[in-house]
């Protein structure tokens, strides 16, 4: 085996692929080959860094240097200057890689220090190579459980102690969900991963899957062990082709290494994992609808109770967990609950992956401690409002989210603090709107989305979404009538109380927050109607 003095990482994701990362890679390999440096410098494809809109990104280790917007033509210079002579190519857009909060790095932007748990390996290893993953600490949690033959109850206890809460939006304690499933009557049980990430503005699960698919496999095996399930399903969006590809490869590798399948690590524990592709329905992100879809049916949500923990997939006890939730599990099992509790807040330990989007300087993904102030996420990591314009609002949590005005910029981003401020964490999407954006327009877009995605099974949601859309359209067109805002709010509140599933129940969040925080804008839009 050869030892390389330098590693060049090329993060591959949708954005860098479009910007030509593969052309850069081919050129890099060619230039290295010409200079006979292929046994000194190793070129690797890694998962995403989470920085978008910076073209092809190239990272040099151990020098800890990023280059952005790398074009094929820049490659010879990088090879000659940096890889051969060890000098940073000053003419190219670059930044030092911040590794941990203790190492000073840039003050703003997505390259500044982030504490990463779920994405800690995603940007430094080749997600398609299980050896690298294992060398970087992958499967250590699962190994510990099986080697020490921890009883499943002890695994659940550890997760409960860690305080891990569901990252899909609701924030339900994961350990409790597992305990309910474990204690439910019946021999056959299932663990299901919800990777049907459909909340507009959210792509954290995709990047976790693309960047570190083995983490999910490990987590699902641990979960299966804990709740007593021999089979797991990953329900994943059909559009997430790269995620599906990589997860498929990872499952095959894990099976080959005896980390999945029969008698894992000769412990007597067996676990099988399957991928099921979704077919494009927002409502399937709701767990009972997802289960219906897994069974091959229309994704109509079920009436709860009974809950999936007792009557889930094929009416068997089932735990449904979000990708990011599960991605926290291996770290907790490897390092212990106390380690996890030291991060984040008391009631919401750990980190959260946010997607910062819209009118910001550096759109992309950031993983940071729970409880980080919103201002820090938008102005620190996001680099502030694009073009120096004024901040108007942030839509937190996607379409089923809340419009937050400027006065709430200092709110801490965790389940509790947001709830106290009538906001939600949701999926972790932070969509920034500058002074030129229209909340009326946005609310219309959200209403349209809900009307389109309502499954139509229950009346309040089917009719309510349509009614709200009509009113939102009217206001947007400048034909608002007196009392429109009140009617819209009343409809949304009725839907909240009477809809069958969270889809219909959650439209009240964007509606109420838009009307309460931006009342003038709606009055103005309606007022223009009066004049016209």
């Amino acid at each position: 085996m050869s030892v390389f003095r330098t590693h060049v990482l090329l993060p591959v994701d949708v954005g860098t692929a479009q910007a030509g990362v593969f052309e850069v890679k081919r050129r890099l390999e060619k230039e290295l080959s010409v200079r006979q440096m292929l046994d000194e410098v190793k070129v690797l494809e890694s998962g995403t860094v989470g920085i978008v809109g910076k073209g092809v990104i190239l990272a040099v280790y151990p020098d800890r240097m990023y280059y952005f917007n790398v074009r094929e033509a820049d490659v010879p210079r990088i090879v000659d200057e940096h890889l051969l002579k060890g000098r940073v190519v000053a003419g190219l857009d670059h930044a030092a890689i911040a590794v941990s909060p203790s190492v000073p790095g840039p003050k703003v932007g997505l390259t500044r220090a982030q504490r990463r748990i779920v994405l800690d390996k995603a940007w430094t290893v080749d997600p398609e190579n299980i050896d690298e993953i294992i060398a970087a600490g992958g499967y250590r949690g699962l190994e510990r459980i099986l080697r020490e033959a921890l009883p499943p109850e002890a695994v659940i206890e550890e997760i409960k102690k860690s305080g891990l809460r569901g990252r899909g939006g609701a924030g339900f304690p994961t350990g409790m969900k597992w305990e309910f499933t474990r204690k439910a009557a019946g021999g056959e049980k299932y663990i299901v991963c919800n990777a049907d990430e459909g909340e507009p503005g959210t792509f954290k699960d995709r990047l976790i899957l693309e960047g570190d698919p083995h983490r999910l496999i490990e987590a699902m095996a641990v979960a299966g062990y804990a709740i007593g399930a021999g089979r797991g399903f990953v329900y994943i969006r059909g559009e997430y082709r790269l995620s599906i590809d990589r997860l498929q490869k990872a499952i095959a590798q894990a099976r080959q290494y005896g980390l999945l399948g029969n008698n894992i690590l000769e412990s007597g524990f067996s676990f099988e994992l399957e991928i099921r592709k979704g077919a494009g329905a927002y409502v399937c992100g709701e767990e009972t609808a997802l289960i219906e879809s897994l069974e091959g049916k229309r994704g109509n949500p079920r009436v709860k109770p009974p809950y999936p923990v007792t009557h889930g997939l094929w009416q068997k006890p089932t735990a449904v967990n979000n990708v990011e939730t599960l991605a926290n599990v291996p770290g907790i099992m490897a390092n212990g609950a106390d380690w996890f509790r030291r991060i984040g807040t008391d009631k919401c330990p750990g980190t959260k992956v946010f997607t910062v989007l819209g009118h910001v300087e550096y759109p992309g993904l950031v993983e940071t401690d729970m409880g980080t102030p919103l201002r820090e996420i938008i102005f620190g990591f996001g680099g502030g409002v694009k073009g120096g314009r004024k901040f108007k609002a942030a839509l937190l949590g996607g379409a089923a989210g809340v419009f937050v005005p400027e006065k709430l910029l200092d709110v801490k981003m965790d389940f509790e603090s947001l709830k106290e401020n009538k906001a939600v964490l949701g999926s972790g999407a932070v969509l920034v709107m500058d002074e030129t954006a229209s909340v009326v327009e946005m609310l219309f877009s959200i209403a349209k989305f809900f009307a389109h995605e309502s499954c139509g099974q229950c009346v309040p949601c089917r009719v309510g979404t349509r009614q709200i859309l009509d009113i939102a359209w009217r206001i947007r067109q400048g034909h608002g009538r007196a009392g429109d805002a009140e009617t819209m709010l009343q409809l949304a509140e009725t839907m909240f109380k009477t809809s069958l599933c969270p889809l219909g129940q959650s439209l009240v969040m964007p509606v109420r927050s838009a009307l309460e925080n931006f009342a003038e804008e709606f009055a103005l839009a309606a007022g223009q109607a009066g004049k016209a």
Binding site: G15, G201, G280, R298, L357, L431, S445
Partner: protein, 176 residues
């Protein structure tokens, strides 16, 4: 009632689908996975194919039709050679996706959901690809194009069409 032997139309497409269905017989609830494969083979899901799937899996046609019409991904109508899928998610909306849709409708002469007369393009929309950092984005077949404006979007379509025309011309030349 005894199950009738299902007649398999004698062509490779149906044979391929039948092989997939046979392979998934042990799996509970295979309908959606079967429809995924069927659409990959046929490009869309005409009624005959739905009939075939229903009989093969021994489920009512109504159930198959119900599933097909529930999910955005499944199509009842034939589509063009290439699919233009414009994202209308929240992030793309803020960045002007609706302007682009208008421009594309004008360029192609069809409304959203329509297929051009030469069956080259089908114009479609989607709710968020999870590529919001590149907003506004469209997916041309399997490739994501981001940071668009109306001109750029039109240019991408024209380039693809031009490449196809060139390839076709080269082929006829060769044949001659």
């Amino acid at each position: 009632m005894e199950a009738q032997a299902v007649h398999v139309p004698d062509n490779e497409q149906y044979r391929e689908l039948k092989r997939f269905i046979d392979a998934s017989r042990g799996v509970p609830g295979p309908l959606i996975q079967v429809l995924h494969r069927a659409q990959k083979i046929f490009g869309y899901l005409p009624l005959e194919v739905q009939h075939f799937v229903a009989r093969e899996l021994d489920v009512p046609l109504a159930k198959v039709f119900g599933v097909v019409t529930f999910y955005n991904f499944f199509r009842l109508d034939p589509i063009g050679d290439h699919i233009v899928n414009m994202c209308l998610g929240t992030a793309c909306h803020v960045k002007g996706a609706s302007e682009i849709i208008k421009a594309l409708e004008k360029e192609l002469g069809v409304k959203v959901g329509g297929t051009t007369a030469d069956r080259f393009y089908t114009l479609s929309t989607a709710r968020c690809f999870g590529a919001c950092g590149l907003a506004p984005v469209l997916m041309l077949d399997e490739e994501v194009h981001g940071r668009l404006n109306p001109q750029k979007a039109i240019q991408i379509l024209r380039e693809m069409k031009a490449r196809a025309a060139e390839a076709a011309a080269a082929e006829t030349k060769e044949e001659k």
